[in-house]
Symmetry: D2
């Protein structure tokens, strides 16, 4: 099955190519970059020399849909909203990695993203691709809104305790830390090496566009409106997201009981791993892989649960989950092409 990738010179596209290359049923088809069309890939990415030899192409709807069987959009927000509908109308399977089709509410989208929302028609067509939670919906879908990196780590960490009705829904605080590749390949002072190396930087406190996405999932899963505190921090490393979440428990449960709850919840989901009591995951332990590793701690002094959830932002937080969704859409084993061991150290 030929997979086209649009937005071919960003880190998301590059990671898609890496993963598709290892996938037994997918192969890299057209790679689209309007700005670099006609150039060889290895000019922008020498690590692909002699691996991907085809030139980058410009976007041509007919050619694209004829020559490919599935399209991954690794385009920025605002670009996907224009391209995805054309592709969806052509009937080709589409997985969009941007934030454009994740929020069902146009007004929420416009509040947080500060530009025009896609049409309602397409918003309602898109299935939110949080693979472990919406596997059934994804199986029947042809248009997927692939989740954001922060929302993936956060919702996988929070859903089991919230669905079990063991936590005060007014108490949810998420302290998120991300490696710098999450900001993409576009240049900015914030991602200039000498500025962010040897530095931790808090940014967009209470203002990150992933907040409504997380709240939408939590509402869908619990039936309640959950308003979260969400802080984001940039940390000097390439890959990895850790979220540390805090919720007040409403009853008496031990760390061990919470661990059991999570293990049970994810027992059929090979990419979520629960650490034993007293052990917390580190981002390096999922580097380059599609795992989401979770550690849990109930503090008896405060009766508060601390949840540590880590992913590789470019894999489970983007390209990996997109492949996982492609597997679901095609009824392949969810691990197909994603079976590799994290790169350590």
């Amino acid at each position: 099955m030929k997979a086209a990738i649009i937005g071919g010179t960003g880190y998301g596209a590059i990671e898609l190519i890496r993963l598709i290359h290892n996938h037994p049923f997918l192969e890299v088809g057209s790679v689209i970059s309007n700005s670099q069309a006609g150039h060889n890939f290895s000019e922008s990415y020498p690590h692909l020399t002699e691996i991907i030899n085809q030139p980058l192409e410009s976007f041509d709807l007919d050619r694209l849909t004829e020559q490919n069987d599935i399209v991954f959009l690794a385009t920025p927000s605002g670009v996907s909203s224009k391209m995805a509908p054309q592709l969806v109308d052509k009937g080709i399977k589409v997985i969009d990695l941007s934030g454009d089709f994740r929020l069902r509410s146009q007004s929420e989208y416009e509040t947080w993203y500060k530009h025009t929302a896609p049409e309602k028609h397409y918003l309602s067509k898109a299935v939110y691709g949080l693979s472990e939670i919406y596997a059934e919906e994804i199986k029947g879908a042809s248009f997927i809104a692939n989740p954001g990196c922060y929302p993936t780590a956060t919702t996988l960490g929070l859903i089991p305790i919230l669905k079990a009705n063991l936590a005060d829904k007014k108490s949810v605080i998420i302290d998120a830390k991300s490696g710098v590749s999450g900001a993409g390949r576009g240049l900015s002072l914030t991602t200039h090496y000498a500025e962010i190396n040897e530095n931790i930087k808090a940014y967009k406190l209470g203002a990150h566009q992933h907040i409504p996405e997380i709240e939408q999932v939590l509402k869908d899963e619990t039936g309640s409106l959950i308003t979260i505190s969400f802080s984001t921090h940039l940390v000097p490393m390439n890959r990895g997201i850790m979220i540390t979440a805090y919720v007040n428990l409403t009853g008496n449960v031990s760390t061990n009981e919470v661990n059991e709850l999570y293990r049970e919840f994810y027992k059929n989901h090979p990419f979520v791993r629960i650490r034993p009591e007293g052990i917390y995951p580190a981002t390096k332990e999922v580097q380059g892989s599609n795992y989401c590793d979770i550690g849990l701690h109930v503090d008896p002094r405060t009766n508060r649960l601390t949840i540590v959830s880590v992913i590789d932002n470019l894999v489970k937080g983007a390209a990996g989950q997109a492949i996982q969704n492609a597997n679901l859409m095609n009824d392949w084993d969810v691990r197909t092409g994603l079976n590799s061991i994290p790169m350590y150290p």
Copy 2:
């Protein structure tokens, strides 16, 4: 005034030497390291070649107190508890950078530090050296328990809002991130380069020995028992601590009003700087300096205050605050020898 340093081969001692070297009224006196006695300093620390030429000495109580006017103990917990009392009895001024004399309660100490507490007599003699808060007590003191790195960043960030009675005291959550130098120069797998580079690691959730220290200060300042949630994370950089603290507000105050409250609170304290609304400090902005920079954000969606407080763990979190305390003890301007600009980038 001659300043002796005990524990001469750790990072705390090295930072004391760097700062004392720039101090107009202090000079480096004896440097004590029982394990390296007789060796030249530049064998362990080539950066001190031709700057500190004296050999390391072994601990000799009489010689030490004769040849020096003040003693800085940069020794580990458990060592200070044995050495400091001998020095205090000799009548020399002592500033202890370890955790041994910070907790007034022996049983709290033994619960969290897991070894025998110092004698009550010396615990009650020690003045807790959080310079901005206890300046008056420090001025008259001859024995200082210098605060921990996490407690310094945390308490300076929390005291104004808690003292103003604007926060729910049951709601205090502190998410702390530290550079790796905080773990010292002793070897461990956790601080092995390839393990912690490109990694964020959560550790000692709810179990860090700085918890009772923070709670003691908050109780002293507010009169209330405040039980905190406190999580610590190791981040791949050498220096710097950021704490992100969360408290539920009890009334309606804006970010601007909280900013004003903090500015007023610290107006006579040159080492605490408050960022304007919408700007949050980054650890690099205090690198190598004694500043504690604070940014504040009231989220109207949750009526929760987020506090971002950063220090250089080796300066304001250790050696710098020790010098600041020496300045107070000697009635020198608090900035003496600490006036340098953060090293950027």
Copy 3:
């Protein structure tokens, strides 16, 4: 085919497991660690949770050779020299990643390694596993001495120009830079995070034990005794080696001509890639992969050739080349299991 790994808790073993897991014809058999026998792997390496579930075993010659078809020794120098002969005598295929069987001369070994050399009998049995150069010998071999990381990057970079008789053999200078994982998982002050982060450190100038290994290969390939200058530097990153080599040219050749020479030399070797004129490889461009990428520059001002050669020290410099050799020994395509794209960024 079952592959046993001895020395199971070092980075070399971990990388072997990662690569074998992706190999269609090999699977992880016994994993031996005398110090950790009986423990679960995920205690030392949580990233392997739910992937490698078997316990670590102690070394038992009979059991090992019965239950496995090939053995990888990822043991330190001095340990391999004792274990490998026992395995070789049992007739099982052995690939040793240590330096113990690379030098044919016992006295050279003892000069540079400072301990007793293995027996002559086994030294002469071992085939040096520089896969691109000795493919034929490796195909027929049952005992491989896998090359060192520095020698791999260096010899692949130097052999074409030296064999072409275009360089002054007295002029060979190699300036090598390595990431920190090359020093292994054993603790040392040199690899303590705060010491080597934000630092470049020169070490073992003219004294590295890889010098005689490089000189032996160059002599084998050119027939001449070539005495090299070889300097090693530690650089603050996990993975990657770059060698920058300098040779005086004996005739007039352009960068383009040298490029052609190298392309021709390696045309049947998919893991060596030559950059076009004016482009030099960076270590990240081979990260996690088995590639050796080479860039070349003839400086007309000095008539000197500069060669830049990069590898991932844990893959092409250790575990990857070991798998490549296993492929050769078994007459599988040399790319089997090694076909993945470098992880970028």
Copy 4:
């Protein structure tokens, strides 16, 4: 004495401000940035909050020369060439940190810098400010061309052996490694965090504009035309340059004898420190300081000398040496304001 700084928002200017702030006889005067004129400094550099409160100014020749006693140009090449002559004509002392007035030959300048050279008149007025070597000329000068970072580390490392006539002048090879701050604060893909973190990158082999600067100094010092091989590498850290230089020795000298030669050569120069035999400097050992530390190794196998020379590129390689030159111009002790201990770790 009031010191104006032009080019106020680059790293060179920021480091000048840090150093001038600690200088007893200099104080920060006007800070000029045409692009940011009218803005507060702390908008661009929050670490200067409450330290530098004056706004950035636009360039006004009369006001500038009236209100200041000395001018530091931290402007890029091509800008200095236009501004410096105006200032020189006004009679104010000028220290230019750019490359514009370092090369005496206009044609050499235009070959390597690819734009128009300054007028001959001003080129011949500028004194090259390599402080240890040209102290006498600098003392009488009013216009200084401050050396480049690579040339400083390189020439201080090479001059003693070359002047002693102990080295083959055709054999000089310099392998240089630099931290990323050397590339400045301007955005580029090369200095984008995720690109250069976990990476070593070779660039501008044999093509760096510092080559003619080094060759000019070596010719001035030895009387011979010395053509060098010069390779530059970017290393993932903020500060620090290491050069590893190789020269063939013409006679028999031991490492110890070369060490003595260097110690003797620099005995009156406090900022150059020679390591003992077998010890090589690391860049962290000079971090934040004006030192140039040198280690030496004679390899008896090749009779080649390896020289390792390290500096902080922003201090001894830029702002620190500029202050050192201001000290010389004003007949102050060369250490004035530069006396601080390297920041370690």
